[in-house]
Symmetry: C2
Subunit: 179 residues, 2 copies
DNA sequence: GTCTATATTGTGATAGAC
DNA sequence: GTCTATCACAATATAGAC
């Protein structure tokens, strides 16, 4: 999987605009074609089917996330900075974020290593402990997706909830209490 | 919103069976009707539209969750027990769980107080701190939904990740380090 | 409360000419 | 690589008889 170029990249860009502007329902082959000034069947000369097009969309999202998260790793206190970056990315691209996280991941359609690259900053921020990193990822994803789905009560202080989770997760491991 | 009875309850039960067996795509008005031995248009005598039927499904899920989680509160160490119960519920009803968590919540369609009832055990386990409780909920939801979407690497030790998160979240609050 | 018949709309996708 | 024409299908929902 190499970076897209030419017409293929234009199609993915159009699809992304539509998705982010109108959600998954707006992402139809006809709408994508319209936006490019061509007819829907022409898209099938570039992508075998809609799934492949969506996979390219997801892959682009991962590449972007990997770059974004890598940029905030340099902080001395990386976990809070990463949490902010994660939340900001999800909030800025809510529909793409959902597309990326809610379906089974087709790893074959991803550029080599980009999944690991997107995860690496967090793993480093967790001192290399993969379990803690996965817990932190789950926390961040849970906060982001519940926020996007408007599932917190209207009066909830989400900044405070993020802080509570980040503080707990970055504290040094204590004696395990769970059995 | 009172408990459903009669035909309405039968319809919801049929819908739930279909959803859990075949996912959201299997949940069509025709399939629901077929399962009850009637024709699809007859369903509209009981529910104004499909949304209302799904809302009833979601409401039933919350009632069930509230009962399940309340039952494990009595433990001396409630947080790990709640985490296990949460994960078990999501795993046992994956499609209903996704339906309940991925869409905006229509609170008017829920039985009075059931949302708070489902959340109460966790709030108690977090010593009444709503921010910590929300962080814990986000962690659990993140773990559950990433697991359901098969988003963890195949070799990830999910039990260990759950433990890492629960341990971190039940530790006494330390001096905040995030800014 | 159930039926039959049907409207309406939208979708992804293919064939074959240019 | 784009077009026109069209298929094939599935979905929710309504009207009106019984």
């Amino acid at each position: 999987m190499e970076p897209l170029t030419g017409r293929k990249a234009e199609i993915v860009a159009a699809a992304r605009d539509l998705l982010e502007a109108g959600g998954p329902e707006a992402l139809t082959m006809r709408a994508i074609a319209d936006r490019l000034g061509i007819q829907a069947p022409s898209l099938y000369k570039h992508f075998p089917d809609k799934d492949a097009l969506e996979a390219a969309l997801v892959a682009a999202g991962f590449v972007e996330q990997a770059e974004t998260f890598a940029a905030v790793t340099r902080s001395r206190n990386p976990l809070p900075a990463l949490a902010r970056a994660y939340r900001a990315w999800a909030t800025a691209h809510p529909h793409l974020y959902v597309l990326m996280t809610s379906r089974r991941l087709d790893r074959d359609s991803l550029p080599e290593g980009v999944e690991a690259a997107a995860a690496a900053p967090l793993l480093k921020a967790c001192g290399g402990d993969p379990n803690r990193a996965r817990a932190a990822w789950a926390f961040a994803h849970g906060m982001a997706s519940l926020e996007l789905a408007n599932r917190f009560p209207p009066d909830a202080d989400l900044d405070a909830a993020w802080r509570a989770g980040v503080d707990a997760l970055q504290a040094p491991p204590t004696t395990p209490r769970s059995t």
